[in-house]
Amino acid sequence: MIGALGEFFAMGGYAQYVWPAYLIAAAILAVLTGLSLRDLRHQEATLLALRRQRRGAAVDEAQG
């Protein structure tokens, strides 16, 4: 079954070069986006926890 779709994926015999090029680009950009978002969430969570902790300490000091 070599239909239009098969022809598309065959890329005129250059499938082994065209598709890896797109896959590498997609994989790298996806990983970069994922890591950037993960790092942002991690830093913001740490900051929030630290601030809460400090506010707690300040309240303790005021009460004590």
Binding site: F8, Y14, A25, L37, D39, L40, Q43, E44, L47
Partner: protein, 239 residues
Amino acid sequence: MHKYANPNQFLRIANPILPWCAWLAGLAIAAGLYLGLVQAPADYQQGETVRIMYVHVPSAWMALFVYTNMAIASATAIIWRHPLGFLIAKASAPIGACFTFISLATGSLWGKPMWGTWWVWDARLTSVLILFFLYIGYIALVDAFDDPTRGQRAASILALVGAVNVPIIHYSVEWWNTLHQPASVARMDGPAIHSSMLWPLLIMAIGFTALYFALMVVRLRGEIAAMKVRNVRLGQVQA
């Protein structure tokens, strides 16, 4: 508090733009993929391999664009001791490194079937490889010191020094005999690409540019949050 007042001010402008950038990036890249992989014709000489162009060329443009941004941001950081310039440069470096790597890898995958080799040491390919090492060097240097301001300064100077490479990359194909062909789009006499291939290329480039700005703002917010975490911890130690 005034120490990061300016980055905060920047975020007040950048944050509302971020979702628009992200949407634009998604839509333009999706459209670019469809146009480049399905709509655009095969090249009269290079056949279907020309489709590699739609990722290779925008990545290469971004590699240079991001580095230029990084160098300007580093210059403002050195001259005005402005934390924002440094943070923009630091947030940009990994994005630029990724685009540079993509352009090198896809160029290699294009060179093998068309030129007959994965790699040659001609002026264009070599200068782009140096650009990749500059990005890696920046990323390594910026966190290499215990004192963050020393790392900042060293990395900013590296970014500035490396800026000489940007015009060398651009003009390498004109100044010297290279295996890589001269520029097709940025030419005095107009693009040498048929419009059916130029449009997918430009739309993909818009998508990549929007993606860069979106990722840069996300990373910048991460860097600012990290800086605040450091300052809070420093405050605790001193108290």
